[in-house]
């Protein structure tokens, strides 16, 4: 099945979100422990509007954990994360972080789209139902409007014909494109991609990356954890290398692929390229 190049992804959701702030993500000194294991050791990152940041690093470097902290799928023990000006997951009480109410956390997550390595589509819902579930149930969008938007989104990711298919009837690449449409349907200000192509067969990686590239071109603010160096080279404004729970090097793709400075970065890139 040929895949048309996707276009006008953000048109389908009524253009990019009006942004409250120029800085979309502001994470400072984020620490996380899993029990005794110190997995994030003071990670700081600033992501500006329309910026595409690619996070690379070896398994266990904490890159997945870090982006999961950005929408509070993981708790943090120290530091602050602001997305679109909101302190994520916590409120401050006497200089200490107290976990926020569930309702507030859920509201914050509406602004942050997430795409998972294993798609996590809802298997009991069709592709279209997957896309419109949250807009209808969470954003209280009228069903007719949601269906119209959902069909437009599926069309833009090249899956108009698959609107009524169940996830089990779709290939991995198709499922992941539905998952991207599902996240976009909430009109997020920021999209997080957690190794979106790692669970795909090689021949399906391209179709997913194509959608992500288009999204980047249209000005979506994105943080992408990936091993796809071609994508990083072509699309990233900035590449961030994580190792052992810390950011050890940060720069433009040109800097990274032509003249990395850190020994571990060089070692990692030589292995993966």
């Amino acid at each position: 099945m040929g895949i048309e190049a996707p276009h006008d992804l953000l048109d389908a959701i009524g253009g990019p979100q009006p942004l409250v702030t120029e800085v979309v993500v502001e994470a400072t000194d984020v620490h996380k422990w899993f029990g005794r294991l110190h997995v994030l050791k003071g990670v700081s990152m600033t992501v500006k509007r329309q910026e595409v940041v690619v996070v690379i690093g070896a398994s266990g470097s904490g890159k997945t954990t870090f982006i999961r902290c950005l929408n509070h799928l993981e708790k943090i023990q120290k530091g602050r994360i602001f997305v679109n000006g909101h302190l994520i997951g916590y409120r401050e009480a006497n200089g200490k972080l107290v976990e926020d109410k569930e309702r507030n956390i859920a509201a914050q997550r509406q602004e942050i789209g997430m795409v998972f390595q294993r798609f996590n589509l809802f298997p009991h819902k069709t592709a279209l139902e997957n896309v419109i579930l949250a807009p209808v149930q969470v954003r209280n969008m009228p069903t007719a409007a949601a269906v119209e938007m959902g069909r437009a989104l599926l069309d833009r990711v090249g899956l108009a014909a698959k609107a009524d298919a169940y996830p089990g009837q779709l290939s991995g690449g198709q499922q992941q494109r539905v998952a991207i449409a599902r996240a976009l349907a909430m009109k997020p200000a920021l999209m997080l991609f957690d190794e979106p192509t790692s669970a795909l067969d090689p021949e399906m990686i391209g179709e997913v990356l194509e959608v992500m590239k288009e999204l980047a071109r249209e000005g979506m603010t994105m943080i992408v954890v990936t091993h796809e160096m071609g994508f990083a080279r072509e699309v990233a404004d900035r590449v961030v290398m994580m190792d052992d729970g810390q950011i050890i090097e940060e720069g433009t793709p040109l800097h990274f692929f032509e003249s990395p400075t850190h020994e571990r970065t060089k070692a990692f890139l030589s292995k993966i390229l």
């Binding site: 899993f34 997995v39 690093g57 398994s59 266990g60 470097s61 904490g62 890159k63 997945t64 954990t65 929408n71 799928l73 993981e74 569930e102 309702r103 859920a106 509201a107 997550r109 509406q110 942050i112 789209g113 997430m114 998972f116 390595q117 294993r118 996590n120 589509l121 809802f122 298997p123 009991h124 579930l133 949250a134 149930q137 969470v138 954003r139 298919a165 169940y166 996830p167 089990g168 009837q169 998952a179 599902r182 996240a183 909430m186 190794e195 790692s198 669970a199 795909l200 954890v225 091993h227």
Partner: protein
């Protein structure tokens, strides 16, 4: 020759006391009272099962709760109920509680109908008992749903309640429905135990007839046949329900239930390479 002299085998044949016409009469032309007993058995089973599912849901959520007191209460409940005989529970709820002056079930008058105290007690005991078993089944069903589903729901801005209702429970239902059918089969038979607190269900109706006619063998054969009919009819309904839940995923228009469920947990080579935490 006296009866006592004859050897065992011959004697039992000689004294077999079975009246087929009596059996057929009571099987095919049951009295009004007997049919009421049958209806009561069915009603008790439906009520007990329905409330049992509700209690089971609550207990399952309590078991999965983050609040330890809730978890402890639910654990205590399932431990006690599953560790004691249903018969003891029935007598305890109706007779023992009343004897100790803790609680007495009174008849409730609902217009022309009387909701008898012992029937109330029977429903309470049956549903409390069933709730403990259902809570385990429902809990296992919820836990069988890929945690990635909850994460996806959360990432879309759903609260815990919404993600449960819209995403997790519909998927858990597929795991819960087959054992739920088996539970109802057991429930149909377990209702016979409430005869000990004087509820005129099928077994007690039978016993009443037995005391009047002394035809134990024929009448127990009749009651066994009725239970068998009930459970067999339910078996047919059950297989229809299971087919219905598999309908939208039949081979013709989609993958099977199993395929759909496993499509989420399908392991890939990439998992090995995935970023650990």
């Amino acid at each position: 020759m006296t009866v006592g002299d004859v050897d065992g085998g011959m004697a039992s044949l000689a004294v077999i006391n079975f009246d087929p016409s009596f059996f057929w009469h009571y099987l095919l032309q049951p009295s009004q009272g007997y049919l009421q007993g049958l209806a009561l058995t069915f009603g008790l089973a439906v009520a007990g099962q329905t409330l049992g599912v509700v209690i089971g849901l609550l207990a399952a959520f309590a078991r999965l709760s983050r609040a330890w007191p809730l978890r402890s209460i639910a654990r205590l409940y399932t431990w006690v109920i599953r560790g004691t005989p249903l018969l003891v529970q029935i007598v305890f709820v109706y007779t023992a509680l009343a004897a100790a002056g803790i609680f007495r079930f009174h008849d409730i008058q609902l217009g022309p109908f009387t909701f008898a105290g012992n029937i109330q007690a029977a429903i309470v005991a049956l549903s409390l008992n069933e709730g403990a078993y259902m809570s385990e089944i429902i809990r296992a069903g919820i836990l069988s749903v890929d945690p990635g589903q909850t994460e996806a729901a959360k990432s879309l801005g759903m609260t815990y309640a919404k993600s449960m209702r819209l995403v997790v429970l519909p998927q858990a239902a597929r795991f819960v429905i087959p054992p739920l059918g088996n539970e109802f089969n057991s429930m149909l038979k377990n209702t016979s135990l409430v005869s000990v607190i004087g509820v005129q269900e099928l077994l007690l109706s039978t016993n009443t007839l037995v005391s009047a006619t002394f035809r134990v063998f024929e009448l127990l054969l009749v009651v066994a046949t009725y239970y068998l009919l009930l459970t067999t009819a339910w078996g047919l309904v059950q297989s229809r329900i299971e087919r219905y839940f598999g309908k939208s995923t039949s081979a013709a228009d989609g993958p099977s239930v199993l395929e759909r469920l496993t499509s989420l947990v399908r392991p890939t080579e990439a998992d090995d390479a995935s970023d650990g935490r």
